[in-house]
């Protein structure tokens, strides 16, 4: 402990800004010797502080059959620690140990019974799960131990104290590339964030495991209640061949396969100081923040670097097409093209392209006398921006009998952008809208905090300034060039929603 603190005194301190431009943000960075990164953006007039901790961990590390397990870990990390969430840790600790022993038995039994529980049906019930009497017997033992643990549980404790001390905007999010926990606190109470999050990083206890499993089932049902969910999942599956960025947040059978051991392995490997970034924005400066962070995180040791994502999406070789028949979902046609991740020089152009494309498509639909709506986005599953390849999606929702015609208009509009680029007015509108979007982000400390932390996860936080400046410099020629490079048949997936 003492050694660590001494070493921290020699930690790297740098004051950097996001380049010399209108997008300058006075961010201060400190990287502790144990690898923890602290970013502070002081806003002296603020009476509150937006505090977030980002972990370079998300759904992209999951394996098929365990999809959604990263998101599930986030839920488990709300269940408390050994200092919060129990009225008697001494009594609970051996029971937790017992649960992991039973979990190991369960995994071994499932492996042993592999032929009895393997999936055989093609059109099976989505809630199907294979089991045997031996597996169920172990599950019953697990439930019995869980009931004993519930006698000393203090649910809600982790979040209770944030609220008691004026915390608002309490959320946690897990996407394909990151997990974050966040809160907005009065500036005098930032220490509470560090105490709670350091505890969460080092002392999480998996309580209420099987009850929480059902919350994911509920959330999945909520997703499936939206008519678009199964369609989007099919589209993502056609756009990407191998990269997990295109995988959904878990199918129903996956939720029943999560084990404590699998989740604990994630927790141990990824929730380490050298894989984490704390971002503070508001009424706090680096001089105040640094010793507080040292107090709560300084004693933690650097751990092995977590496993990188190895997947590389192969170069698209052929046009792909999805026909989705639905009696309820509004008919539409969609064109998706794979695009590069943040950090690639072409990526900022697509933000401008979205605005230009939407406006041009609206005009061309109107000229053709087709009523409908246009949406252009870069969403893959739930996220719109990645440090890996994603897709740009042009969606026209049109009357049932206009789907084929609308596809022609969509493709010819993209050809127009390739051959002539946008007009100067289209480009000016796009740039104005992008500028306004960014200003709305900076107004809200929490949104700005997210942008900074997210760029750190995708590449490194300094990329944000480069990205914003490059985006502001996009001209007609850049749009034309990027359209010509990416809007080619081999990189195209067409989706049509039609009536059965």
């Amino acid at each position: 402990m003492k050694t660590n603190l001494l070493m921290l005194a020699f930690g790297l301190i740098s004051i950097a800004s996001l380049g010399q431009s209108s997008y300058d943000l006075p961010i201060e960075e400190h990287v502790f010797d144990n690898g923890l990164r602290l970013l502070v953006l002081e806003r002296p007039d603020d009476h509150r502080v937006s505090a977030k901790i980002f972990t370079d961990f998300g759904a992209m590390v999951e394996e098929p059959g365990e999809l959604g397990s990263a998101h599930y870990l986030e839920h488990l990390m709300f269940k408390g620690t050994k200092t919060l969430g129990t009225t008697n840790w001494e009594k609970e600790a051996p029971l937790i140990e017992k649960l992991f022993e039973l979990d190991a038995q369960l995994i071994a039994q499932m492996n042993k019974d592999r032929n009895a529980i393997r999936e055989r049906a093609v059109f099976h019930n989505d809630e199907w799960r294979g089991t045997t009497p031996e597996i169920e017997a172990i599950r019953k033992q697990i439930a019995d131990v869980d009931r004993q643990i519930n006698e000393t549980r203090d649910p809600g404790a982790v979040m209770r104290w944030y609220q008691a001390y004026g915390g608002t905007g309490l959320t946690a999010t897990t996407e394909q590339e990151y997990m974050k926990f966040d809160i907005i606190l009065p500036k005098e109470r930032v220490e509470l964030f560090l105490r709670v999050e350091a505890d969460r990083m080092s002392n999480t206890v998996f309580r209420g495991f099987d009850e929480e499993r059902m919350i994911l089932v509920e959330q999945r049902y909520g997703d499936l209640n939206r008519l678009t969910t199964p369609y989007y999942e099919q589209m993502n599956a056609v756009v990407g061949l191998v990269h997990p960025v295109f995988w959904p947040e878990g199918y129903l059978p996956d939720f029943y396969q999560y084990t404590r051991t699998y989740e604990k392995d994630f927790y141990d490997r990824y929730f380490v100081v050298n894989n984490s970034t704390i971002v503070l924005i508001g009424g706090i400066d680096m001089a105040t923040a640094k010793p507080l962070v040292e107090k709560y995180f300084g004693w933690m040791e650097r751990k092995p670097e977590p496993m990188r994502i190895k997947s590389v999406e192969p170069t698209p070789q052929a046009e792909r097409r999805l026909i989705y028949r639905s009696a309820d979902l509004a008919p539409r046609v969609e064109a998706r093209f794979m695009i590069p991740g943040v950090g690639h020089e072409d990526r900022p152009v697509f933000d401008v392209m979205m605005e230009v494309g939407k406006r041009r498509l609206e005009d061309n639909l109107a000229k053709a006398g087709i009523s409908g709506s246009v949406d252009v986005n870069t969403r893959v599953v739930h996220t719109s921006i990645f440090g890996v390849p994603g897709s740009i999606n042009f969606v026209l929702v049109v009357p049932e009998n206009q789907v084929s015609r609308a596809e022609g208009i969509l493709l010819s509009t993209l050809e127009e952008l390739k051959s002539a680029g946008p007009t100067s007015n289209e480009l000016a509108v796009a740039q104005k809208r992008i500028k306004a979007q960014w200003e709305r982000t900076t107004l809200d400390a929490s949104r700005l905090n997210f942008a900074i932390g997210h760029y750190q996860i995708m590449d490194e936080w300094g990329t944000l300034g480069t990205y914003l400046n490059e985006r502001a410099a996009v001209d007609e020629a850049a749009i034309q060039q990027v359209a010509s490079t990416y809007f080619i048949p081999e990189n195209r997936t067409i989706g049509q929603v039609i009536r059965p």
């Binding site: 809600g156 608002t168 009065p186 105490r195 089932v217 509920e218 049902y221 709560y296 306004a436």
Partner: protein, 462 residues
């Protein structure tokens, strides 16, 4: 030497084994002394003080009161008008018809599509909201477009496009039952169904039939606008990266034509409901449940005790009694929360909202009612009270003043409601004065199982 090395290796291995076996913690217990109980951390009191509304108040020569709050966090400006009249006011459907015009075609020299494109091209964020008692019009723009935004906004507020064509845009609001909404199901729609049920023929029921809608004339709309978009019934908030002096000059010019009138605060009957259960069907995977009743007259002084009570039982966060019982301990639902909606001029609306897979619906209803009865029959703990007070006085209250845009809007809304800031400035003090007995008294006064209606939207089989 060799034996010492062996001993060291064995000790190291034992330590590694100890660190990796069982339990859930990563480090040795020696480091755990930093994790004090939060109440023992010595966290400082928040020094936040509410901005002084008088520092931002501008009164025009015609009596219109505006609030100008500058801030340079972003190169944006927001102009907002708060009008003290909603859809419960005056002839049925007039306010909603005016809202439709304001949303779609508020200026006569632009058709609806042109207006939409104008907003898009200027990156303006424009919205019109309305409830029973209030209406808000808001325009957010880049600061560089302040002049253009102010000119458009003043035209919308002072001379909305009320004519024979626009007055026919509103076709009525039939409500939810038997519509596509119910077929598709959702919690907000279920809440709306219950609201219609509870309010019945009361003016707070938003439903307007086609006949009522077609009976709305241009003169009705103009009269409503003349009466309520007036000096005594409206306030304007301007905020963002602007010059306060410039804004004051512009307001004096742009809003000099606002009609002059005294505050027209309506008063509506207080009604109650009777215990009932109602079902609707949906074809979705989950069942939605809303349990609620109407509220009696509540003064601003009484409101904090109800908020504290609701915060404890179901205030929409991770540590409520309902959340713990239904979600955390049993895995039945993603959420089960309470929503008291206070109204200044008539009966408010208090609902408990939850949803889950069909097989747990009965359990969710039982657990919700159990917690409602429990907070009526027994006292909350000192810790629960401490948490709720902190959340409201140091959390919710401070967020109303998070930036110049929220601050100016807060001031304008309070001015229209009360023509003073007494209730606003005393809110933290009143929250902190709530006692354990006050919480129980609020539960007994505002949670009346004998008046609660349970509305379930479920699959036909259920």
């Amino acid at each position: 030497m060799k034996s010492i090395l062996n001993y060291t290796i064995i000790l190291l291995l034992l330590t590694l084994v100890a660190c990796n076996s069982g339990g859930d913690t990563k480090e040795s217990d020696a480091s755990q002394d930093v994790f004090k109980a939060p109440r023992e951390m010595g966290l400082l009191a928040s020094q936040f003080t509410m901005p002084n509304p008088g520092d931002h108040r501008v009164e025009l020569d015609n009596g219109l009161v505006a609030f100008v709050v500058t801030g340079d966090k972003a190169s944006l400006v927001t102009i907002k008008a708060v009008i003290g009249a909603g859809y419960a006011y005056d002839k049925k459907g007039v306010a909603q018809s005016l809202k439709t015009i304001l949303q779609s075609q508020p200026v006569c020299d632009m058709e609806a599509k042109e207006f939409s494109r104008y907003l898009y091209d200027n990156a303006f964020e424009y919205s019109v909201s309305q409830d029973e008692e209030m209406m808000t019009i808001s325009l957010n723009a880049l600061a560089e477009d302040y002049d253009k935004a102010m000119a458009l906004f003043a035209r919308i507020v002072i001379q909305p496009c009320i004519n024979g064509q626009t007055s026919r845009m509103f076709k009525g609001y039939a409500g939810i039952p038997d519509s596509e909404y119910v077929k598709n199901g959702s919690l907000p729609k279920t809440v709306e169904l219950l609201k219609q049920q509870l309010y019945g023929n009361h003016p707070f029921n938003a439903q307007v039939n086609a006949g009522e809608a077609s009976a709305i004339s241009t003169s009705d709309l103009k009269a409503f606008h003349q009466k309520y978009f007036s000096t005594g019934n409206m306030s304007v908030a301007v905020s963002g990266q602007i010059s306060a002096d410039q804004v004051k000059r512009d307001l004096a010019t742009a809003f000099s034509g606002v009609s002059t009138a005294e505050r027209q605060l309506a008063s509506f009957d207080y009604v109650t409901s009777s215990k009932a259960s109602i079902g609707h069907t949906t074809n979705k995977l989950q069942t939605w449940i809303v349990i609620g009743s109407l509220l009696p007259e509540i003064s601003p002084e009484e409101w904090p005790a109800l908020q504290v009570m609701n915060y404890i039982i179901g205030g929409g966060h991770f540590d409520t009694r309902l959340y713990k019982e239904t979600r955390d301990l049993r895995g039945l639902t993603n959420d089960d929360s309470g929503f008291p909606e206070w109204k200044q001029t008539g009966p408010g609306f208090y609902t408990f909202r939850t949803y889950g897979r069909p097989e747990v619906a009965d359990q969710l209803i039982d657990l919700t009612m159990t917690e409602i009865n429990k907070i009526r029959d027994t006292k909350v703990t000192e810790e629960e009270l401490f948490v709720a007070k902190g959340a409201l006085a140091d959390g919710v209250f401070q967020m109303w003043f998070e930036n110049s845009h929220t601050t100016s809007a807060t001031f304008a809304e309070h001015w229209v409601r009360y023509q003073s800031f007494d209730h606003l400035s005393k809110y933290p003090e009143r929250v902190n004065a709530v006692t354990i007995d006050d919480v129980q008294a609020a539960a007994q006064k505002y949670l009346k199982p004998e008046e609660m209606v349970t509305l379930v939207v479920a699959s036909p089989g259920q």
